[in-house]
Symmetry: C2
Subunit: 401 residues, 2 copies
């Protein structure tokens, strides 16, 4: 059996991962309807004007502003109505002196008119309308290109496409957009003792948990997770897995990174790529392996479900977000008081799961092999490596799971 040689601190591990991970360069063109929450991979510049014509911004009458100059309730102007203009209709009449057309919001302004008097500021009698207000040119209209002029940049490369940016692309009629593809994450649970969900357990077997927890965390953070079949603890099987997912950006193995004789992840990585660290000063999750195989990142996570998932939160999630070009994001958190004194191993960063009850954070951690250490918790407290004690009643920040 081989001991882990040297534990590195969490921040050092994150720095190493950060240097090895590059944002994904590949792109794909998506229908606009599927592009929200994706990262734009092109600068999109408008080739057109929005609105494509000058239009009424209010319901009322399209007039020549100068015909209304000086008009007031005491001194109204009477105009002759030429036609009715609805949104989508094309004006037939040109507005001459003393004339106007009834116009709906969004309708194209008729030639000759340069302002809209709101219906509330008029009185109508037959084909005549009395205007009680003096308007300046442009009043209650939107000019052609006022929203988007030609050559306006609508969205930039690297921007996250939120609903309003999707709207800006729609405004110029684009029905698709180029986005960065999601980082592809292969997720493999290794071990002769692991059985697939739905199968009947043989003696000595347990179900595959890690493929499901890790892939859920990957998907929630902009990655594409691919669950591979359970791999055997043999060099041949692990090499086959490595060869099978050459198109992936990240390989996440769980199991096989401890110090047991049959834990051959380390051999695999030494043989096929480069080991960048083996062993982190975190609790749980110490026996974690990281390195590269060509341009791919390989995480060797502990097999224990809570260790594997807490490592996924601490190490994998920020990596996936970075490769997906998503903004860094601190998980939602609340402040609570620790329900009891907690002693933490000095020198190791602790990921302590807690339940929340009436403003108290109650430790929920059972053991790293127990998934209920986490599934029955509402959140977790990160206890830094240089803190060895949290007092009963001390304030802590609880990151929500």
């Amino acid at each position: 059996m081989r001991p882990i040689r040297k534990l590195i601190q969490l921040d050092e591990a994150l720095r190493i991962i950060d240097s090895a991970a590059s944002p994904v360069d590949g792109t794909e063109r998506l229908p606009l309807v599927d592009a929200s929450d994706r990262v734009c991979a092109e600068d999109v510049v408008s080739s057109t004007s929005v609105p494509p014509f000058s239009r009424a911004a209010m319901d009322g009458y399209a007039v020549r502003a100068r015909d209304t100059f000086g008009a007031s309730r005491a001194n109204p102007v009477v105009l002759r109505v030429r036609e009715k203009l609805y949104a989508g209709s094309v004006p037939k009449k040109v507005i001459g002196r003393g004339e106007c057309s009834e116009i709906a919001t969004g309708a194209m302004m008729p030639k000759g008119a340069d302002a809209v008097v709101m219906v509330e500021d008029t009185e109508t009698a037959g084909s005549e309308v009395t205007v009680n207000e003096s308007l300046h040119p442009g009043k209650n209209t939107s000019k052609k290109g006022e929203d988007i002029a030609p050559r306006t940049r609508l969205v930039s490369r690297g921007e996250l496409l939120n609903p309003s940016k999707i709207g800006a692309l729609a405004a110029v009629g684009l029905d698709s957009v180029k986005v960065y593809r999601r980082p592809r994450v292969a997720v493999v649970t290794t071990g002769d003792e692991i059985a697939e969900l739905g199968a009947r357990l043989k003696p000595g077997q347990v179900y595959n948990i890690n493929s499901y927890t890790v892939s859920a965390a990957v998907r929630a953070n902009g990655g594409e997770a691919r669950i591979l079949p359970i791999a055997k603890d043999t060099m041949g099987d692990l090499e086959r897995v490595v060869d099978e997912c050459e198109d992936c950006d990240i390989l996440v193995f769980s199991g096989g990174s401890s110090v047991g004789e049959r834990d051959i992840m380390l051999d695999l990585l030494e043989h096929r790529g480069e080991v960048l660290f083996h062993g982190i000063a975190v609790k749980p999750g110490k026996p974690t392996l990281f390195g590269t195989i060509g341009s791919r990142l390989l995480f060797g996570m502990p097999g224990y479900p809570t260790s594997c998932l807490s490592n996924a939160y601490m190490l994998l999630v920020p990596t996936v977000r970075r490769m997906a070009r998503l903004p860094e994001r601190e998980p939602a958190s609340v402040v609570a008081r620790m329900s009891k004194r907690v002693v933490s191993a000095t020198g190791r960063t602790q990921f302590l799961t807690v339940r929340l009850e009436g403003g108290l954070a109650i430790p929920a951690f059972k053991e790293s092999g127990a998934i209920t250490s986490m599934s029955h918790a509402e959140g977790y407290v990160i206890i830094p490596a240089d803190v060895d004690l949290i007092e009963n009643g001390e304030q802590v920040r609880v990151f929500l799971l």
Copy 2:
């Protein structure tokens, strides 16, 4: 033309919507791999034990604890190794007095043994192992059912399935889970002036923006958005749309809720269902219609893209989340200083879009018809109805778009 009769305040509008909206009751069974971020629709109780057998929690030797009682470095105990046990293997030998088996983490404990001595606390010579430590029964083992005992509740109805809860379901071998279906939201842009993306604009036409912005907001908040073809401003066409999406929970129309003569959404809702409000004291977004058609909710949003989308954030998003049974969520926000004095219409809640630059919130609003009022903004400030002024330099909370 018909005036909007009476504006109601935003909080009153939200109360009315809240009373009309019920969480969706329909369910669907999903493969576990697709169930993360969904809301569980059943209490899942374990029918089995996890782990399914007592197992080693460390690499070392499975021993009878009593054989080690009193052992120390000064007074070691020598045990005979019977066999090697890997994770997944089934012990063949029973551990008798003075005996042990080499065991890997996760492997089934052999009969007779009740503790594991860590490899670090032993010395090996041939088939003999020297134990330097006194162990209590259960030391370094996980008992059968210690993580999950039979009849343990794993996940409750109404809980959001996060990665660790998915893990708890996997732990007992479940490969699917019953979740609430997503609320189905039909999104329809109405108006003769609206053209579909990718089409060539005819004179007087503008592109369909609202279907894309609204559906993006719906999807980001747990709803299933269905974009319907653009509808004409005729009663017949609107009635056809209503009939076509009988299986939807929410209908969102945009356009046609203003006071123009051809704005017939109000007629439609009066004819087919019940109007619950028409007109909200918000800016932009005043001409908003809400009501029910049978059990379906109908939102008649203004046609202007920024009015429509700001209303979607203020009214539709909380409704979709509630119907999807998702937790209420305040959008991520930052605190900034207003870059200039802002005067707001008293009596109306204002949704003011802003850009963020060096800690300053710079108003980005152009007009409600301009999508760039929002797409070129980083966030928005909600100015309450009873606030008429924000001073230059005053602190505001900016909700991020």
